[in-house]
Symmetry: C2
Subunit: 361 residues, 2 copies
């Protein structure tokens, strides 16, 4: 894999991850772009002790453009996109409408009330293009490309973890208009947060309490229990197991967990990285075959927070969740989930696992 760092015309970084080591990336972004927006504002919600980002420039972000205006396709002689090259393997670049950024505003935000501190939404948001093929999907990628994507995510995890103020690197893919995707071209995103997000904090808290009680690593034991129970396991190989967690909160939820206790993507060995592709592709293809239509999903890499004292208790895993509960029906986060955080799942995890095992891609 060859990494080439370039800049777009507005100063944003764009990085090629090429599968050929002799790739030459000399294309120049010929567009005249306005300067990128300044960092957003973080406000502290005292009612639950959490930070919220206020990013007003995102209101005007590109929204479901027609295919011939897709900003993630390669450029052509006639049309300049976000990617200056006429072809690419995997490309990562700074999001044009970032929730977090190191471009500081001229003045720091002021606290709206004494109980609501505010600060700059420092950090970084990146877009990850998986393929130049607009009509592809992650599930349709060859194994080698999945390996390249994983390499790119590992690289970005290392680089972004080294940035000042970054506390958590979160790699994810939103797929499907049902969950609000605004660009159809297959792509993922990376958020480098300046705080440990609530769910990461909740997982770390649970892992700490478990370690205090047992001296053991929580997800290692959860994984061992799922492998022993077998009934919710979907797929796996020597290095990874994919299962529906016993307390799944979504109609279809799959966790992909490496067998070795690894903290983040940068910590995977070459073998582990290569072994991920067949298991994940198998799961994704089963998902798409479930209802005979592309399954809307969120695919989320949970990694160890960058500097948290309990970092070593975290355990890398991918959480794949779908809002589809039946053909033509979605699970919505309404009152109980959205306002109270209490999930009601209409599908028994063992049934979801069986359906996924029986699903024939």
């Amino acid at each position: 894999m060859k990494k080439t760092i370039t800049q777009l015309s507005d100063g944003r970084e764009l990085i090629y991850f090429d599968e050929r080591d002799d790739a030459v990336r000399s294309e120049v972004d010929a567009r005249h772009l306005p300067p990128p927006p300044k960092a957003s504002e973080l406000r502290y919600d005292p009612l639950v002790d959490e930070w919220v980002a206020i990013a007003t420039h995102r209101q005007s972000r590109t929204h479901l453009p027609p295919e011939d205006e897709c900003p993630l396709c390669p450029s052509t002689p006639e049309r300049h996109t976000e990617i200056p090259a006429y072809d690419y393997d995997v490309v990562v670049f700074e999001n044009r409408f970032p929730a977090f950024s190191h471009r500081f505003p001229s003045a720091p935000p002021t606290a709206p009330t004494p109980l609501v501190p505010a600060r700059v939404g420092v950090g970084r948001c990146e877009v990850v293009c998986f393929t130049p093929d607009h009509d592809a999907s992650f599930a349709s990628l060859p194994q080698r490309r999945v390996r390249t994507v994983l390499g790119a995510l590992a690289d970005r995890t290392s680089e972004l973890s080294a940035l000042p103020d970054v506390e958590q690197v979160f790699c994810f893919e939103n797929r499907g208009e049902e969950i609000g995707v605004t660009l159809r071209h297959p792509h993922g995103q990376i958020y480098a947060y300046p705080f440990v997000p609530p769910r990461a904090l909740a997982m770390l808290g649970a892992a700490r309490r478990y370690a205090d009680r047992t001296g053991r690593i929580l997800l290692a034991d959860v994984l061992a229990a799922e492998r022993a129970a077998r009934v919710r396991v979907i797929a796996g190989n020597e290095h990874w197991t994919a299962y529906v967690p016993a307390a799944a909160r979504w109609p279809f939820e799959v966790h992909l967990v490496p067998h070795r206790h690894v903290l983040d993507l940068a910590g995977l060995t070459d073998q582990e990285s290569s072994a991920f592709a067949p298991v994940y592709l198998d799961v994704l293809r089963r998902c798409d075959a479930l209802f005979g239509a592309p399954l809307p999903y969120i695919s989320a890499w949970h990694q160890a927070p960058v500097r948290h004292p309990d970092r070593a208790l975290a355990y890398l895993h991918l959480q794949l969740t779908s809002v589809r509960r039946a053909a033509g029906k979605l699970k919505y986060l309404a009152g109980s989930e959205s306002a109270m955080g209490a999930f009601v799942n209409d599908v028994r995890p063992e049934d979801a696992a069986r359906l996924l095992r029986e699903s024939k891609p």
Copy 2:
């Protein structure tokens, strides 16, 4: 207000709350209904230390029936609905597809793995019909009806809080198909949970830390700060203030807070209950006028947990949130919100407040 307790043909309770003290409710449910489903199963998610309900019977719940099959309209001589009467003011009845119930299964659930304890989803779920008028909305109700609804919710809060195992009573309204409403007839719901839900617990934790630090009640001080700042206040009177919280996480989010520190709806005085209607109706009508179309929303009453030792630190308030961020555009809970719990709000709270103040119903 006159309360009449009756039973449906399958044993579920149905309660009329009538505005006329001489109302007679002798109608009998003539349907032959199958027995209600048994209670769901709760499973403990060890990764974040939270309970999840698995309620498979909800998969077959009534989904957007045509108007002439609406189960929440009054009955007619020709058609029997969930409400036997030919007219009503406010009716509360046990949900036919409950997430929680006191109808125990013949055997308790067994733990799917040693790390995931399971127990019966004991509790209760109720439906609250606000009006017999299928085409009405909460915003279109007269003030007197709002007062009756509030009285019914206060009654249910008292009654459900007294049930064994109930730890939290949550009254809410989901409005709009955009957030997954499956019945169009104006109605709310009540969930009596057998655990303190995650957001209630988070609020109580923040209130405890604030009390330890200052000796004061958190939301009382937040309210005072918002009233002093004024810039995010939408409406109010002697007893209530409605404002966009300074760290709002939704494009449109309004909190309605009583000026007196009250723990739950049962604790409101008559004056406070009566004073709620004009403020809430004003806010709802401004919401519907924002985009010239009914705003999808979740309206959530946050009440003190029933038996938690820090119950006295909680503070009743209504949280109204909308996923609409612009005409034709919704805010989705995608990767950051859904998988990480980190909210990015595209609308500045002060702008949302200004838009709501300028909105002309």
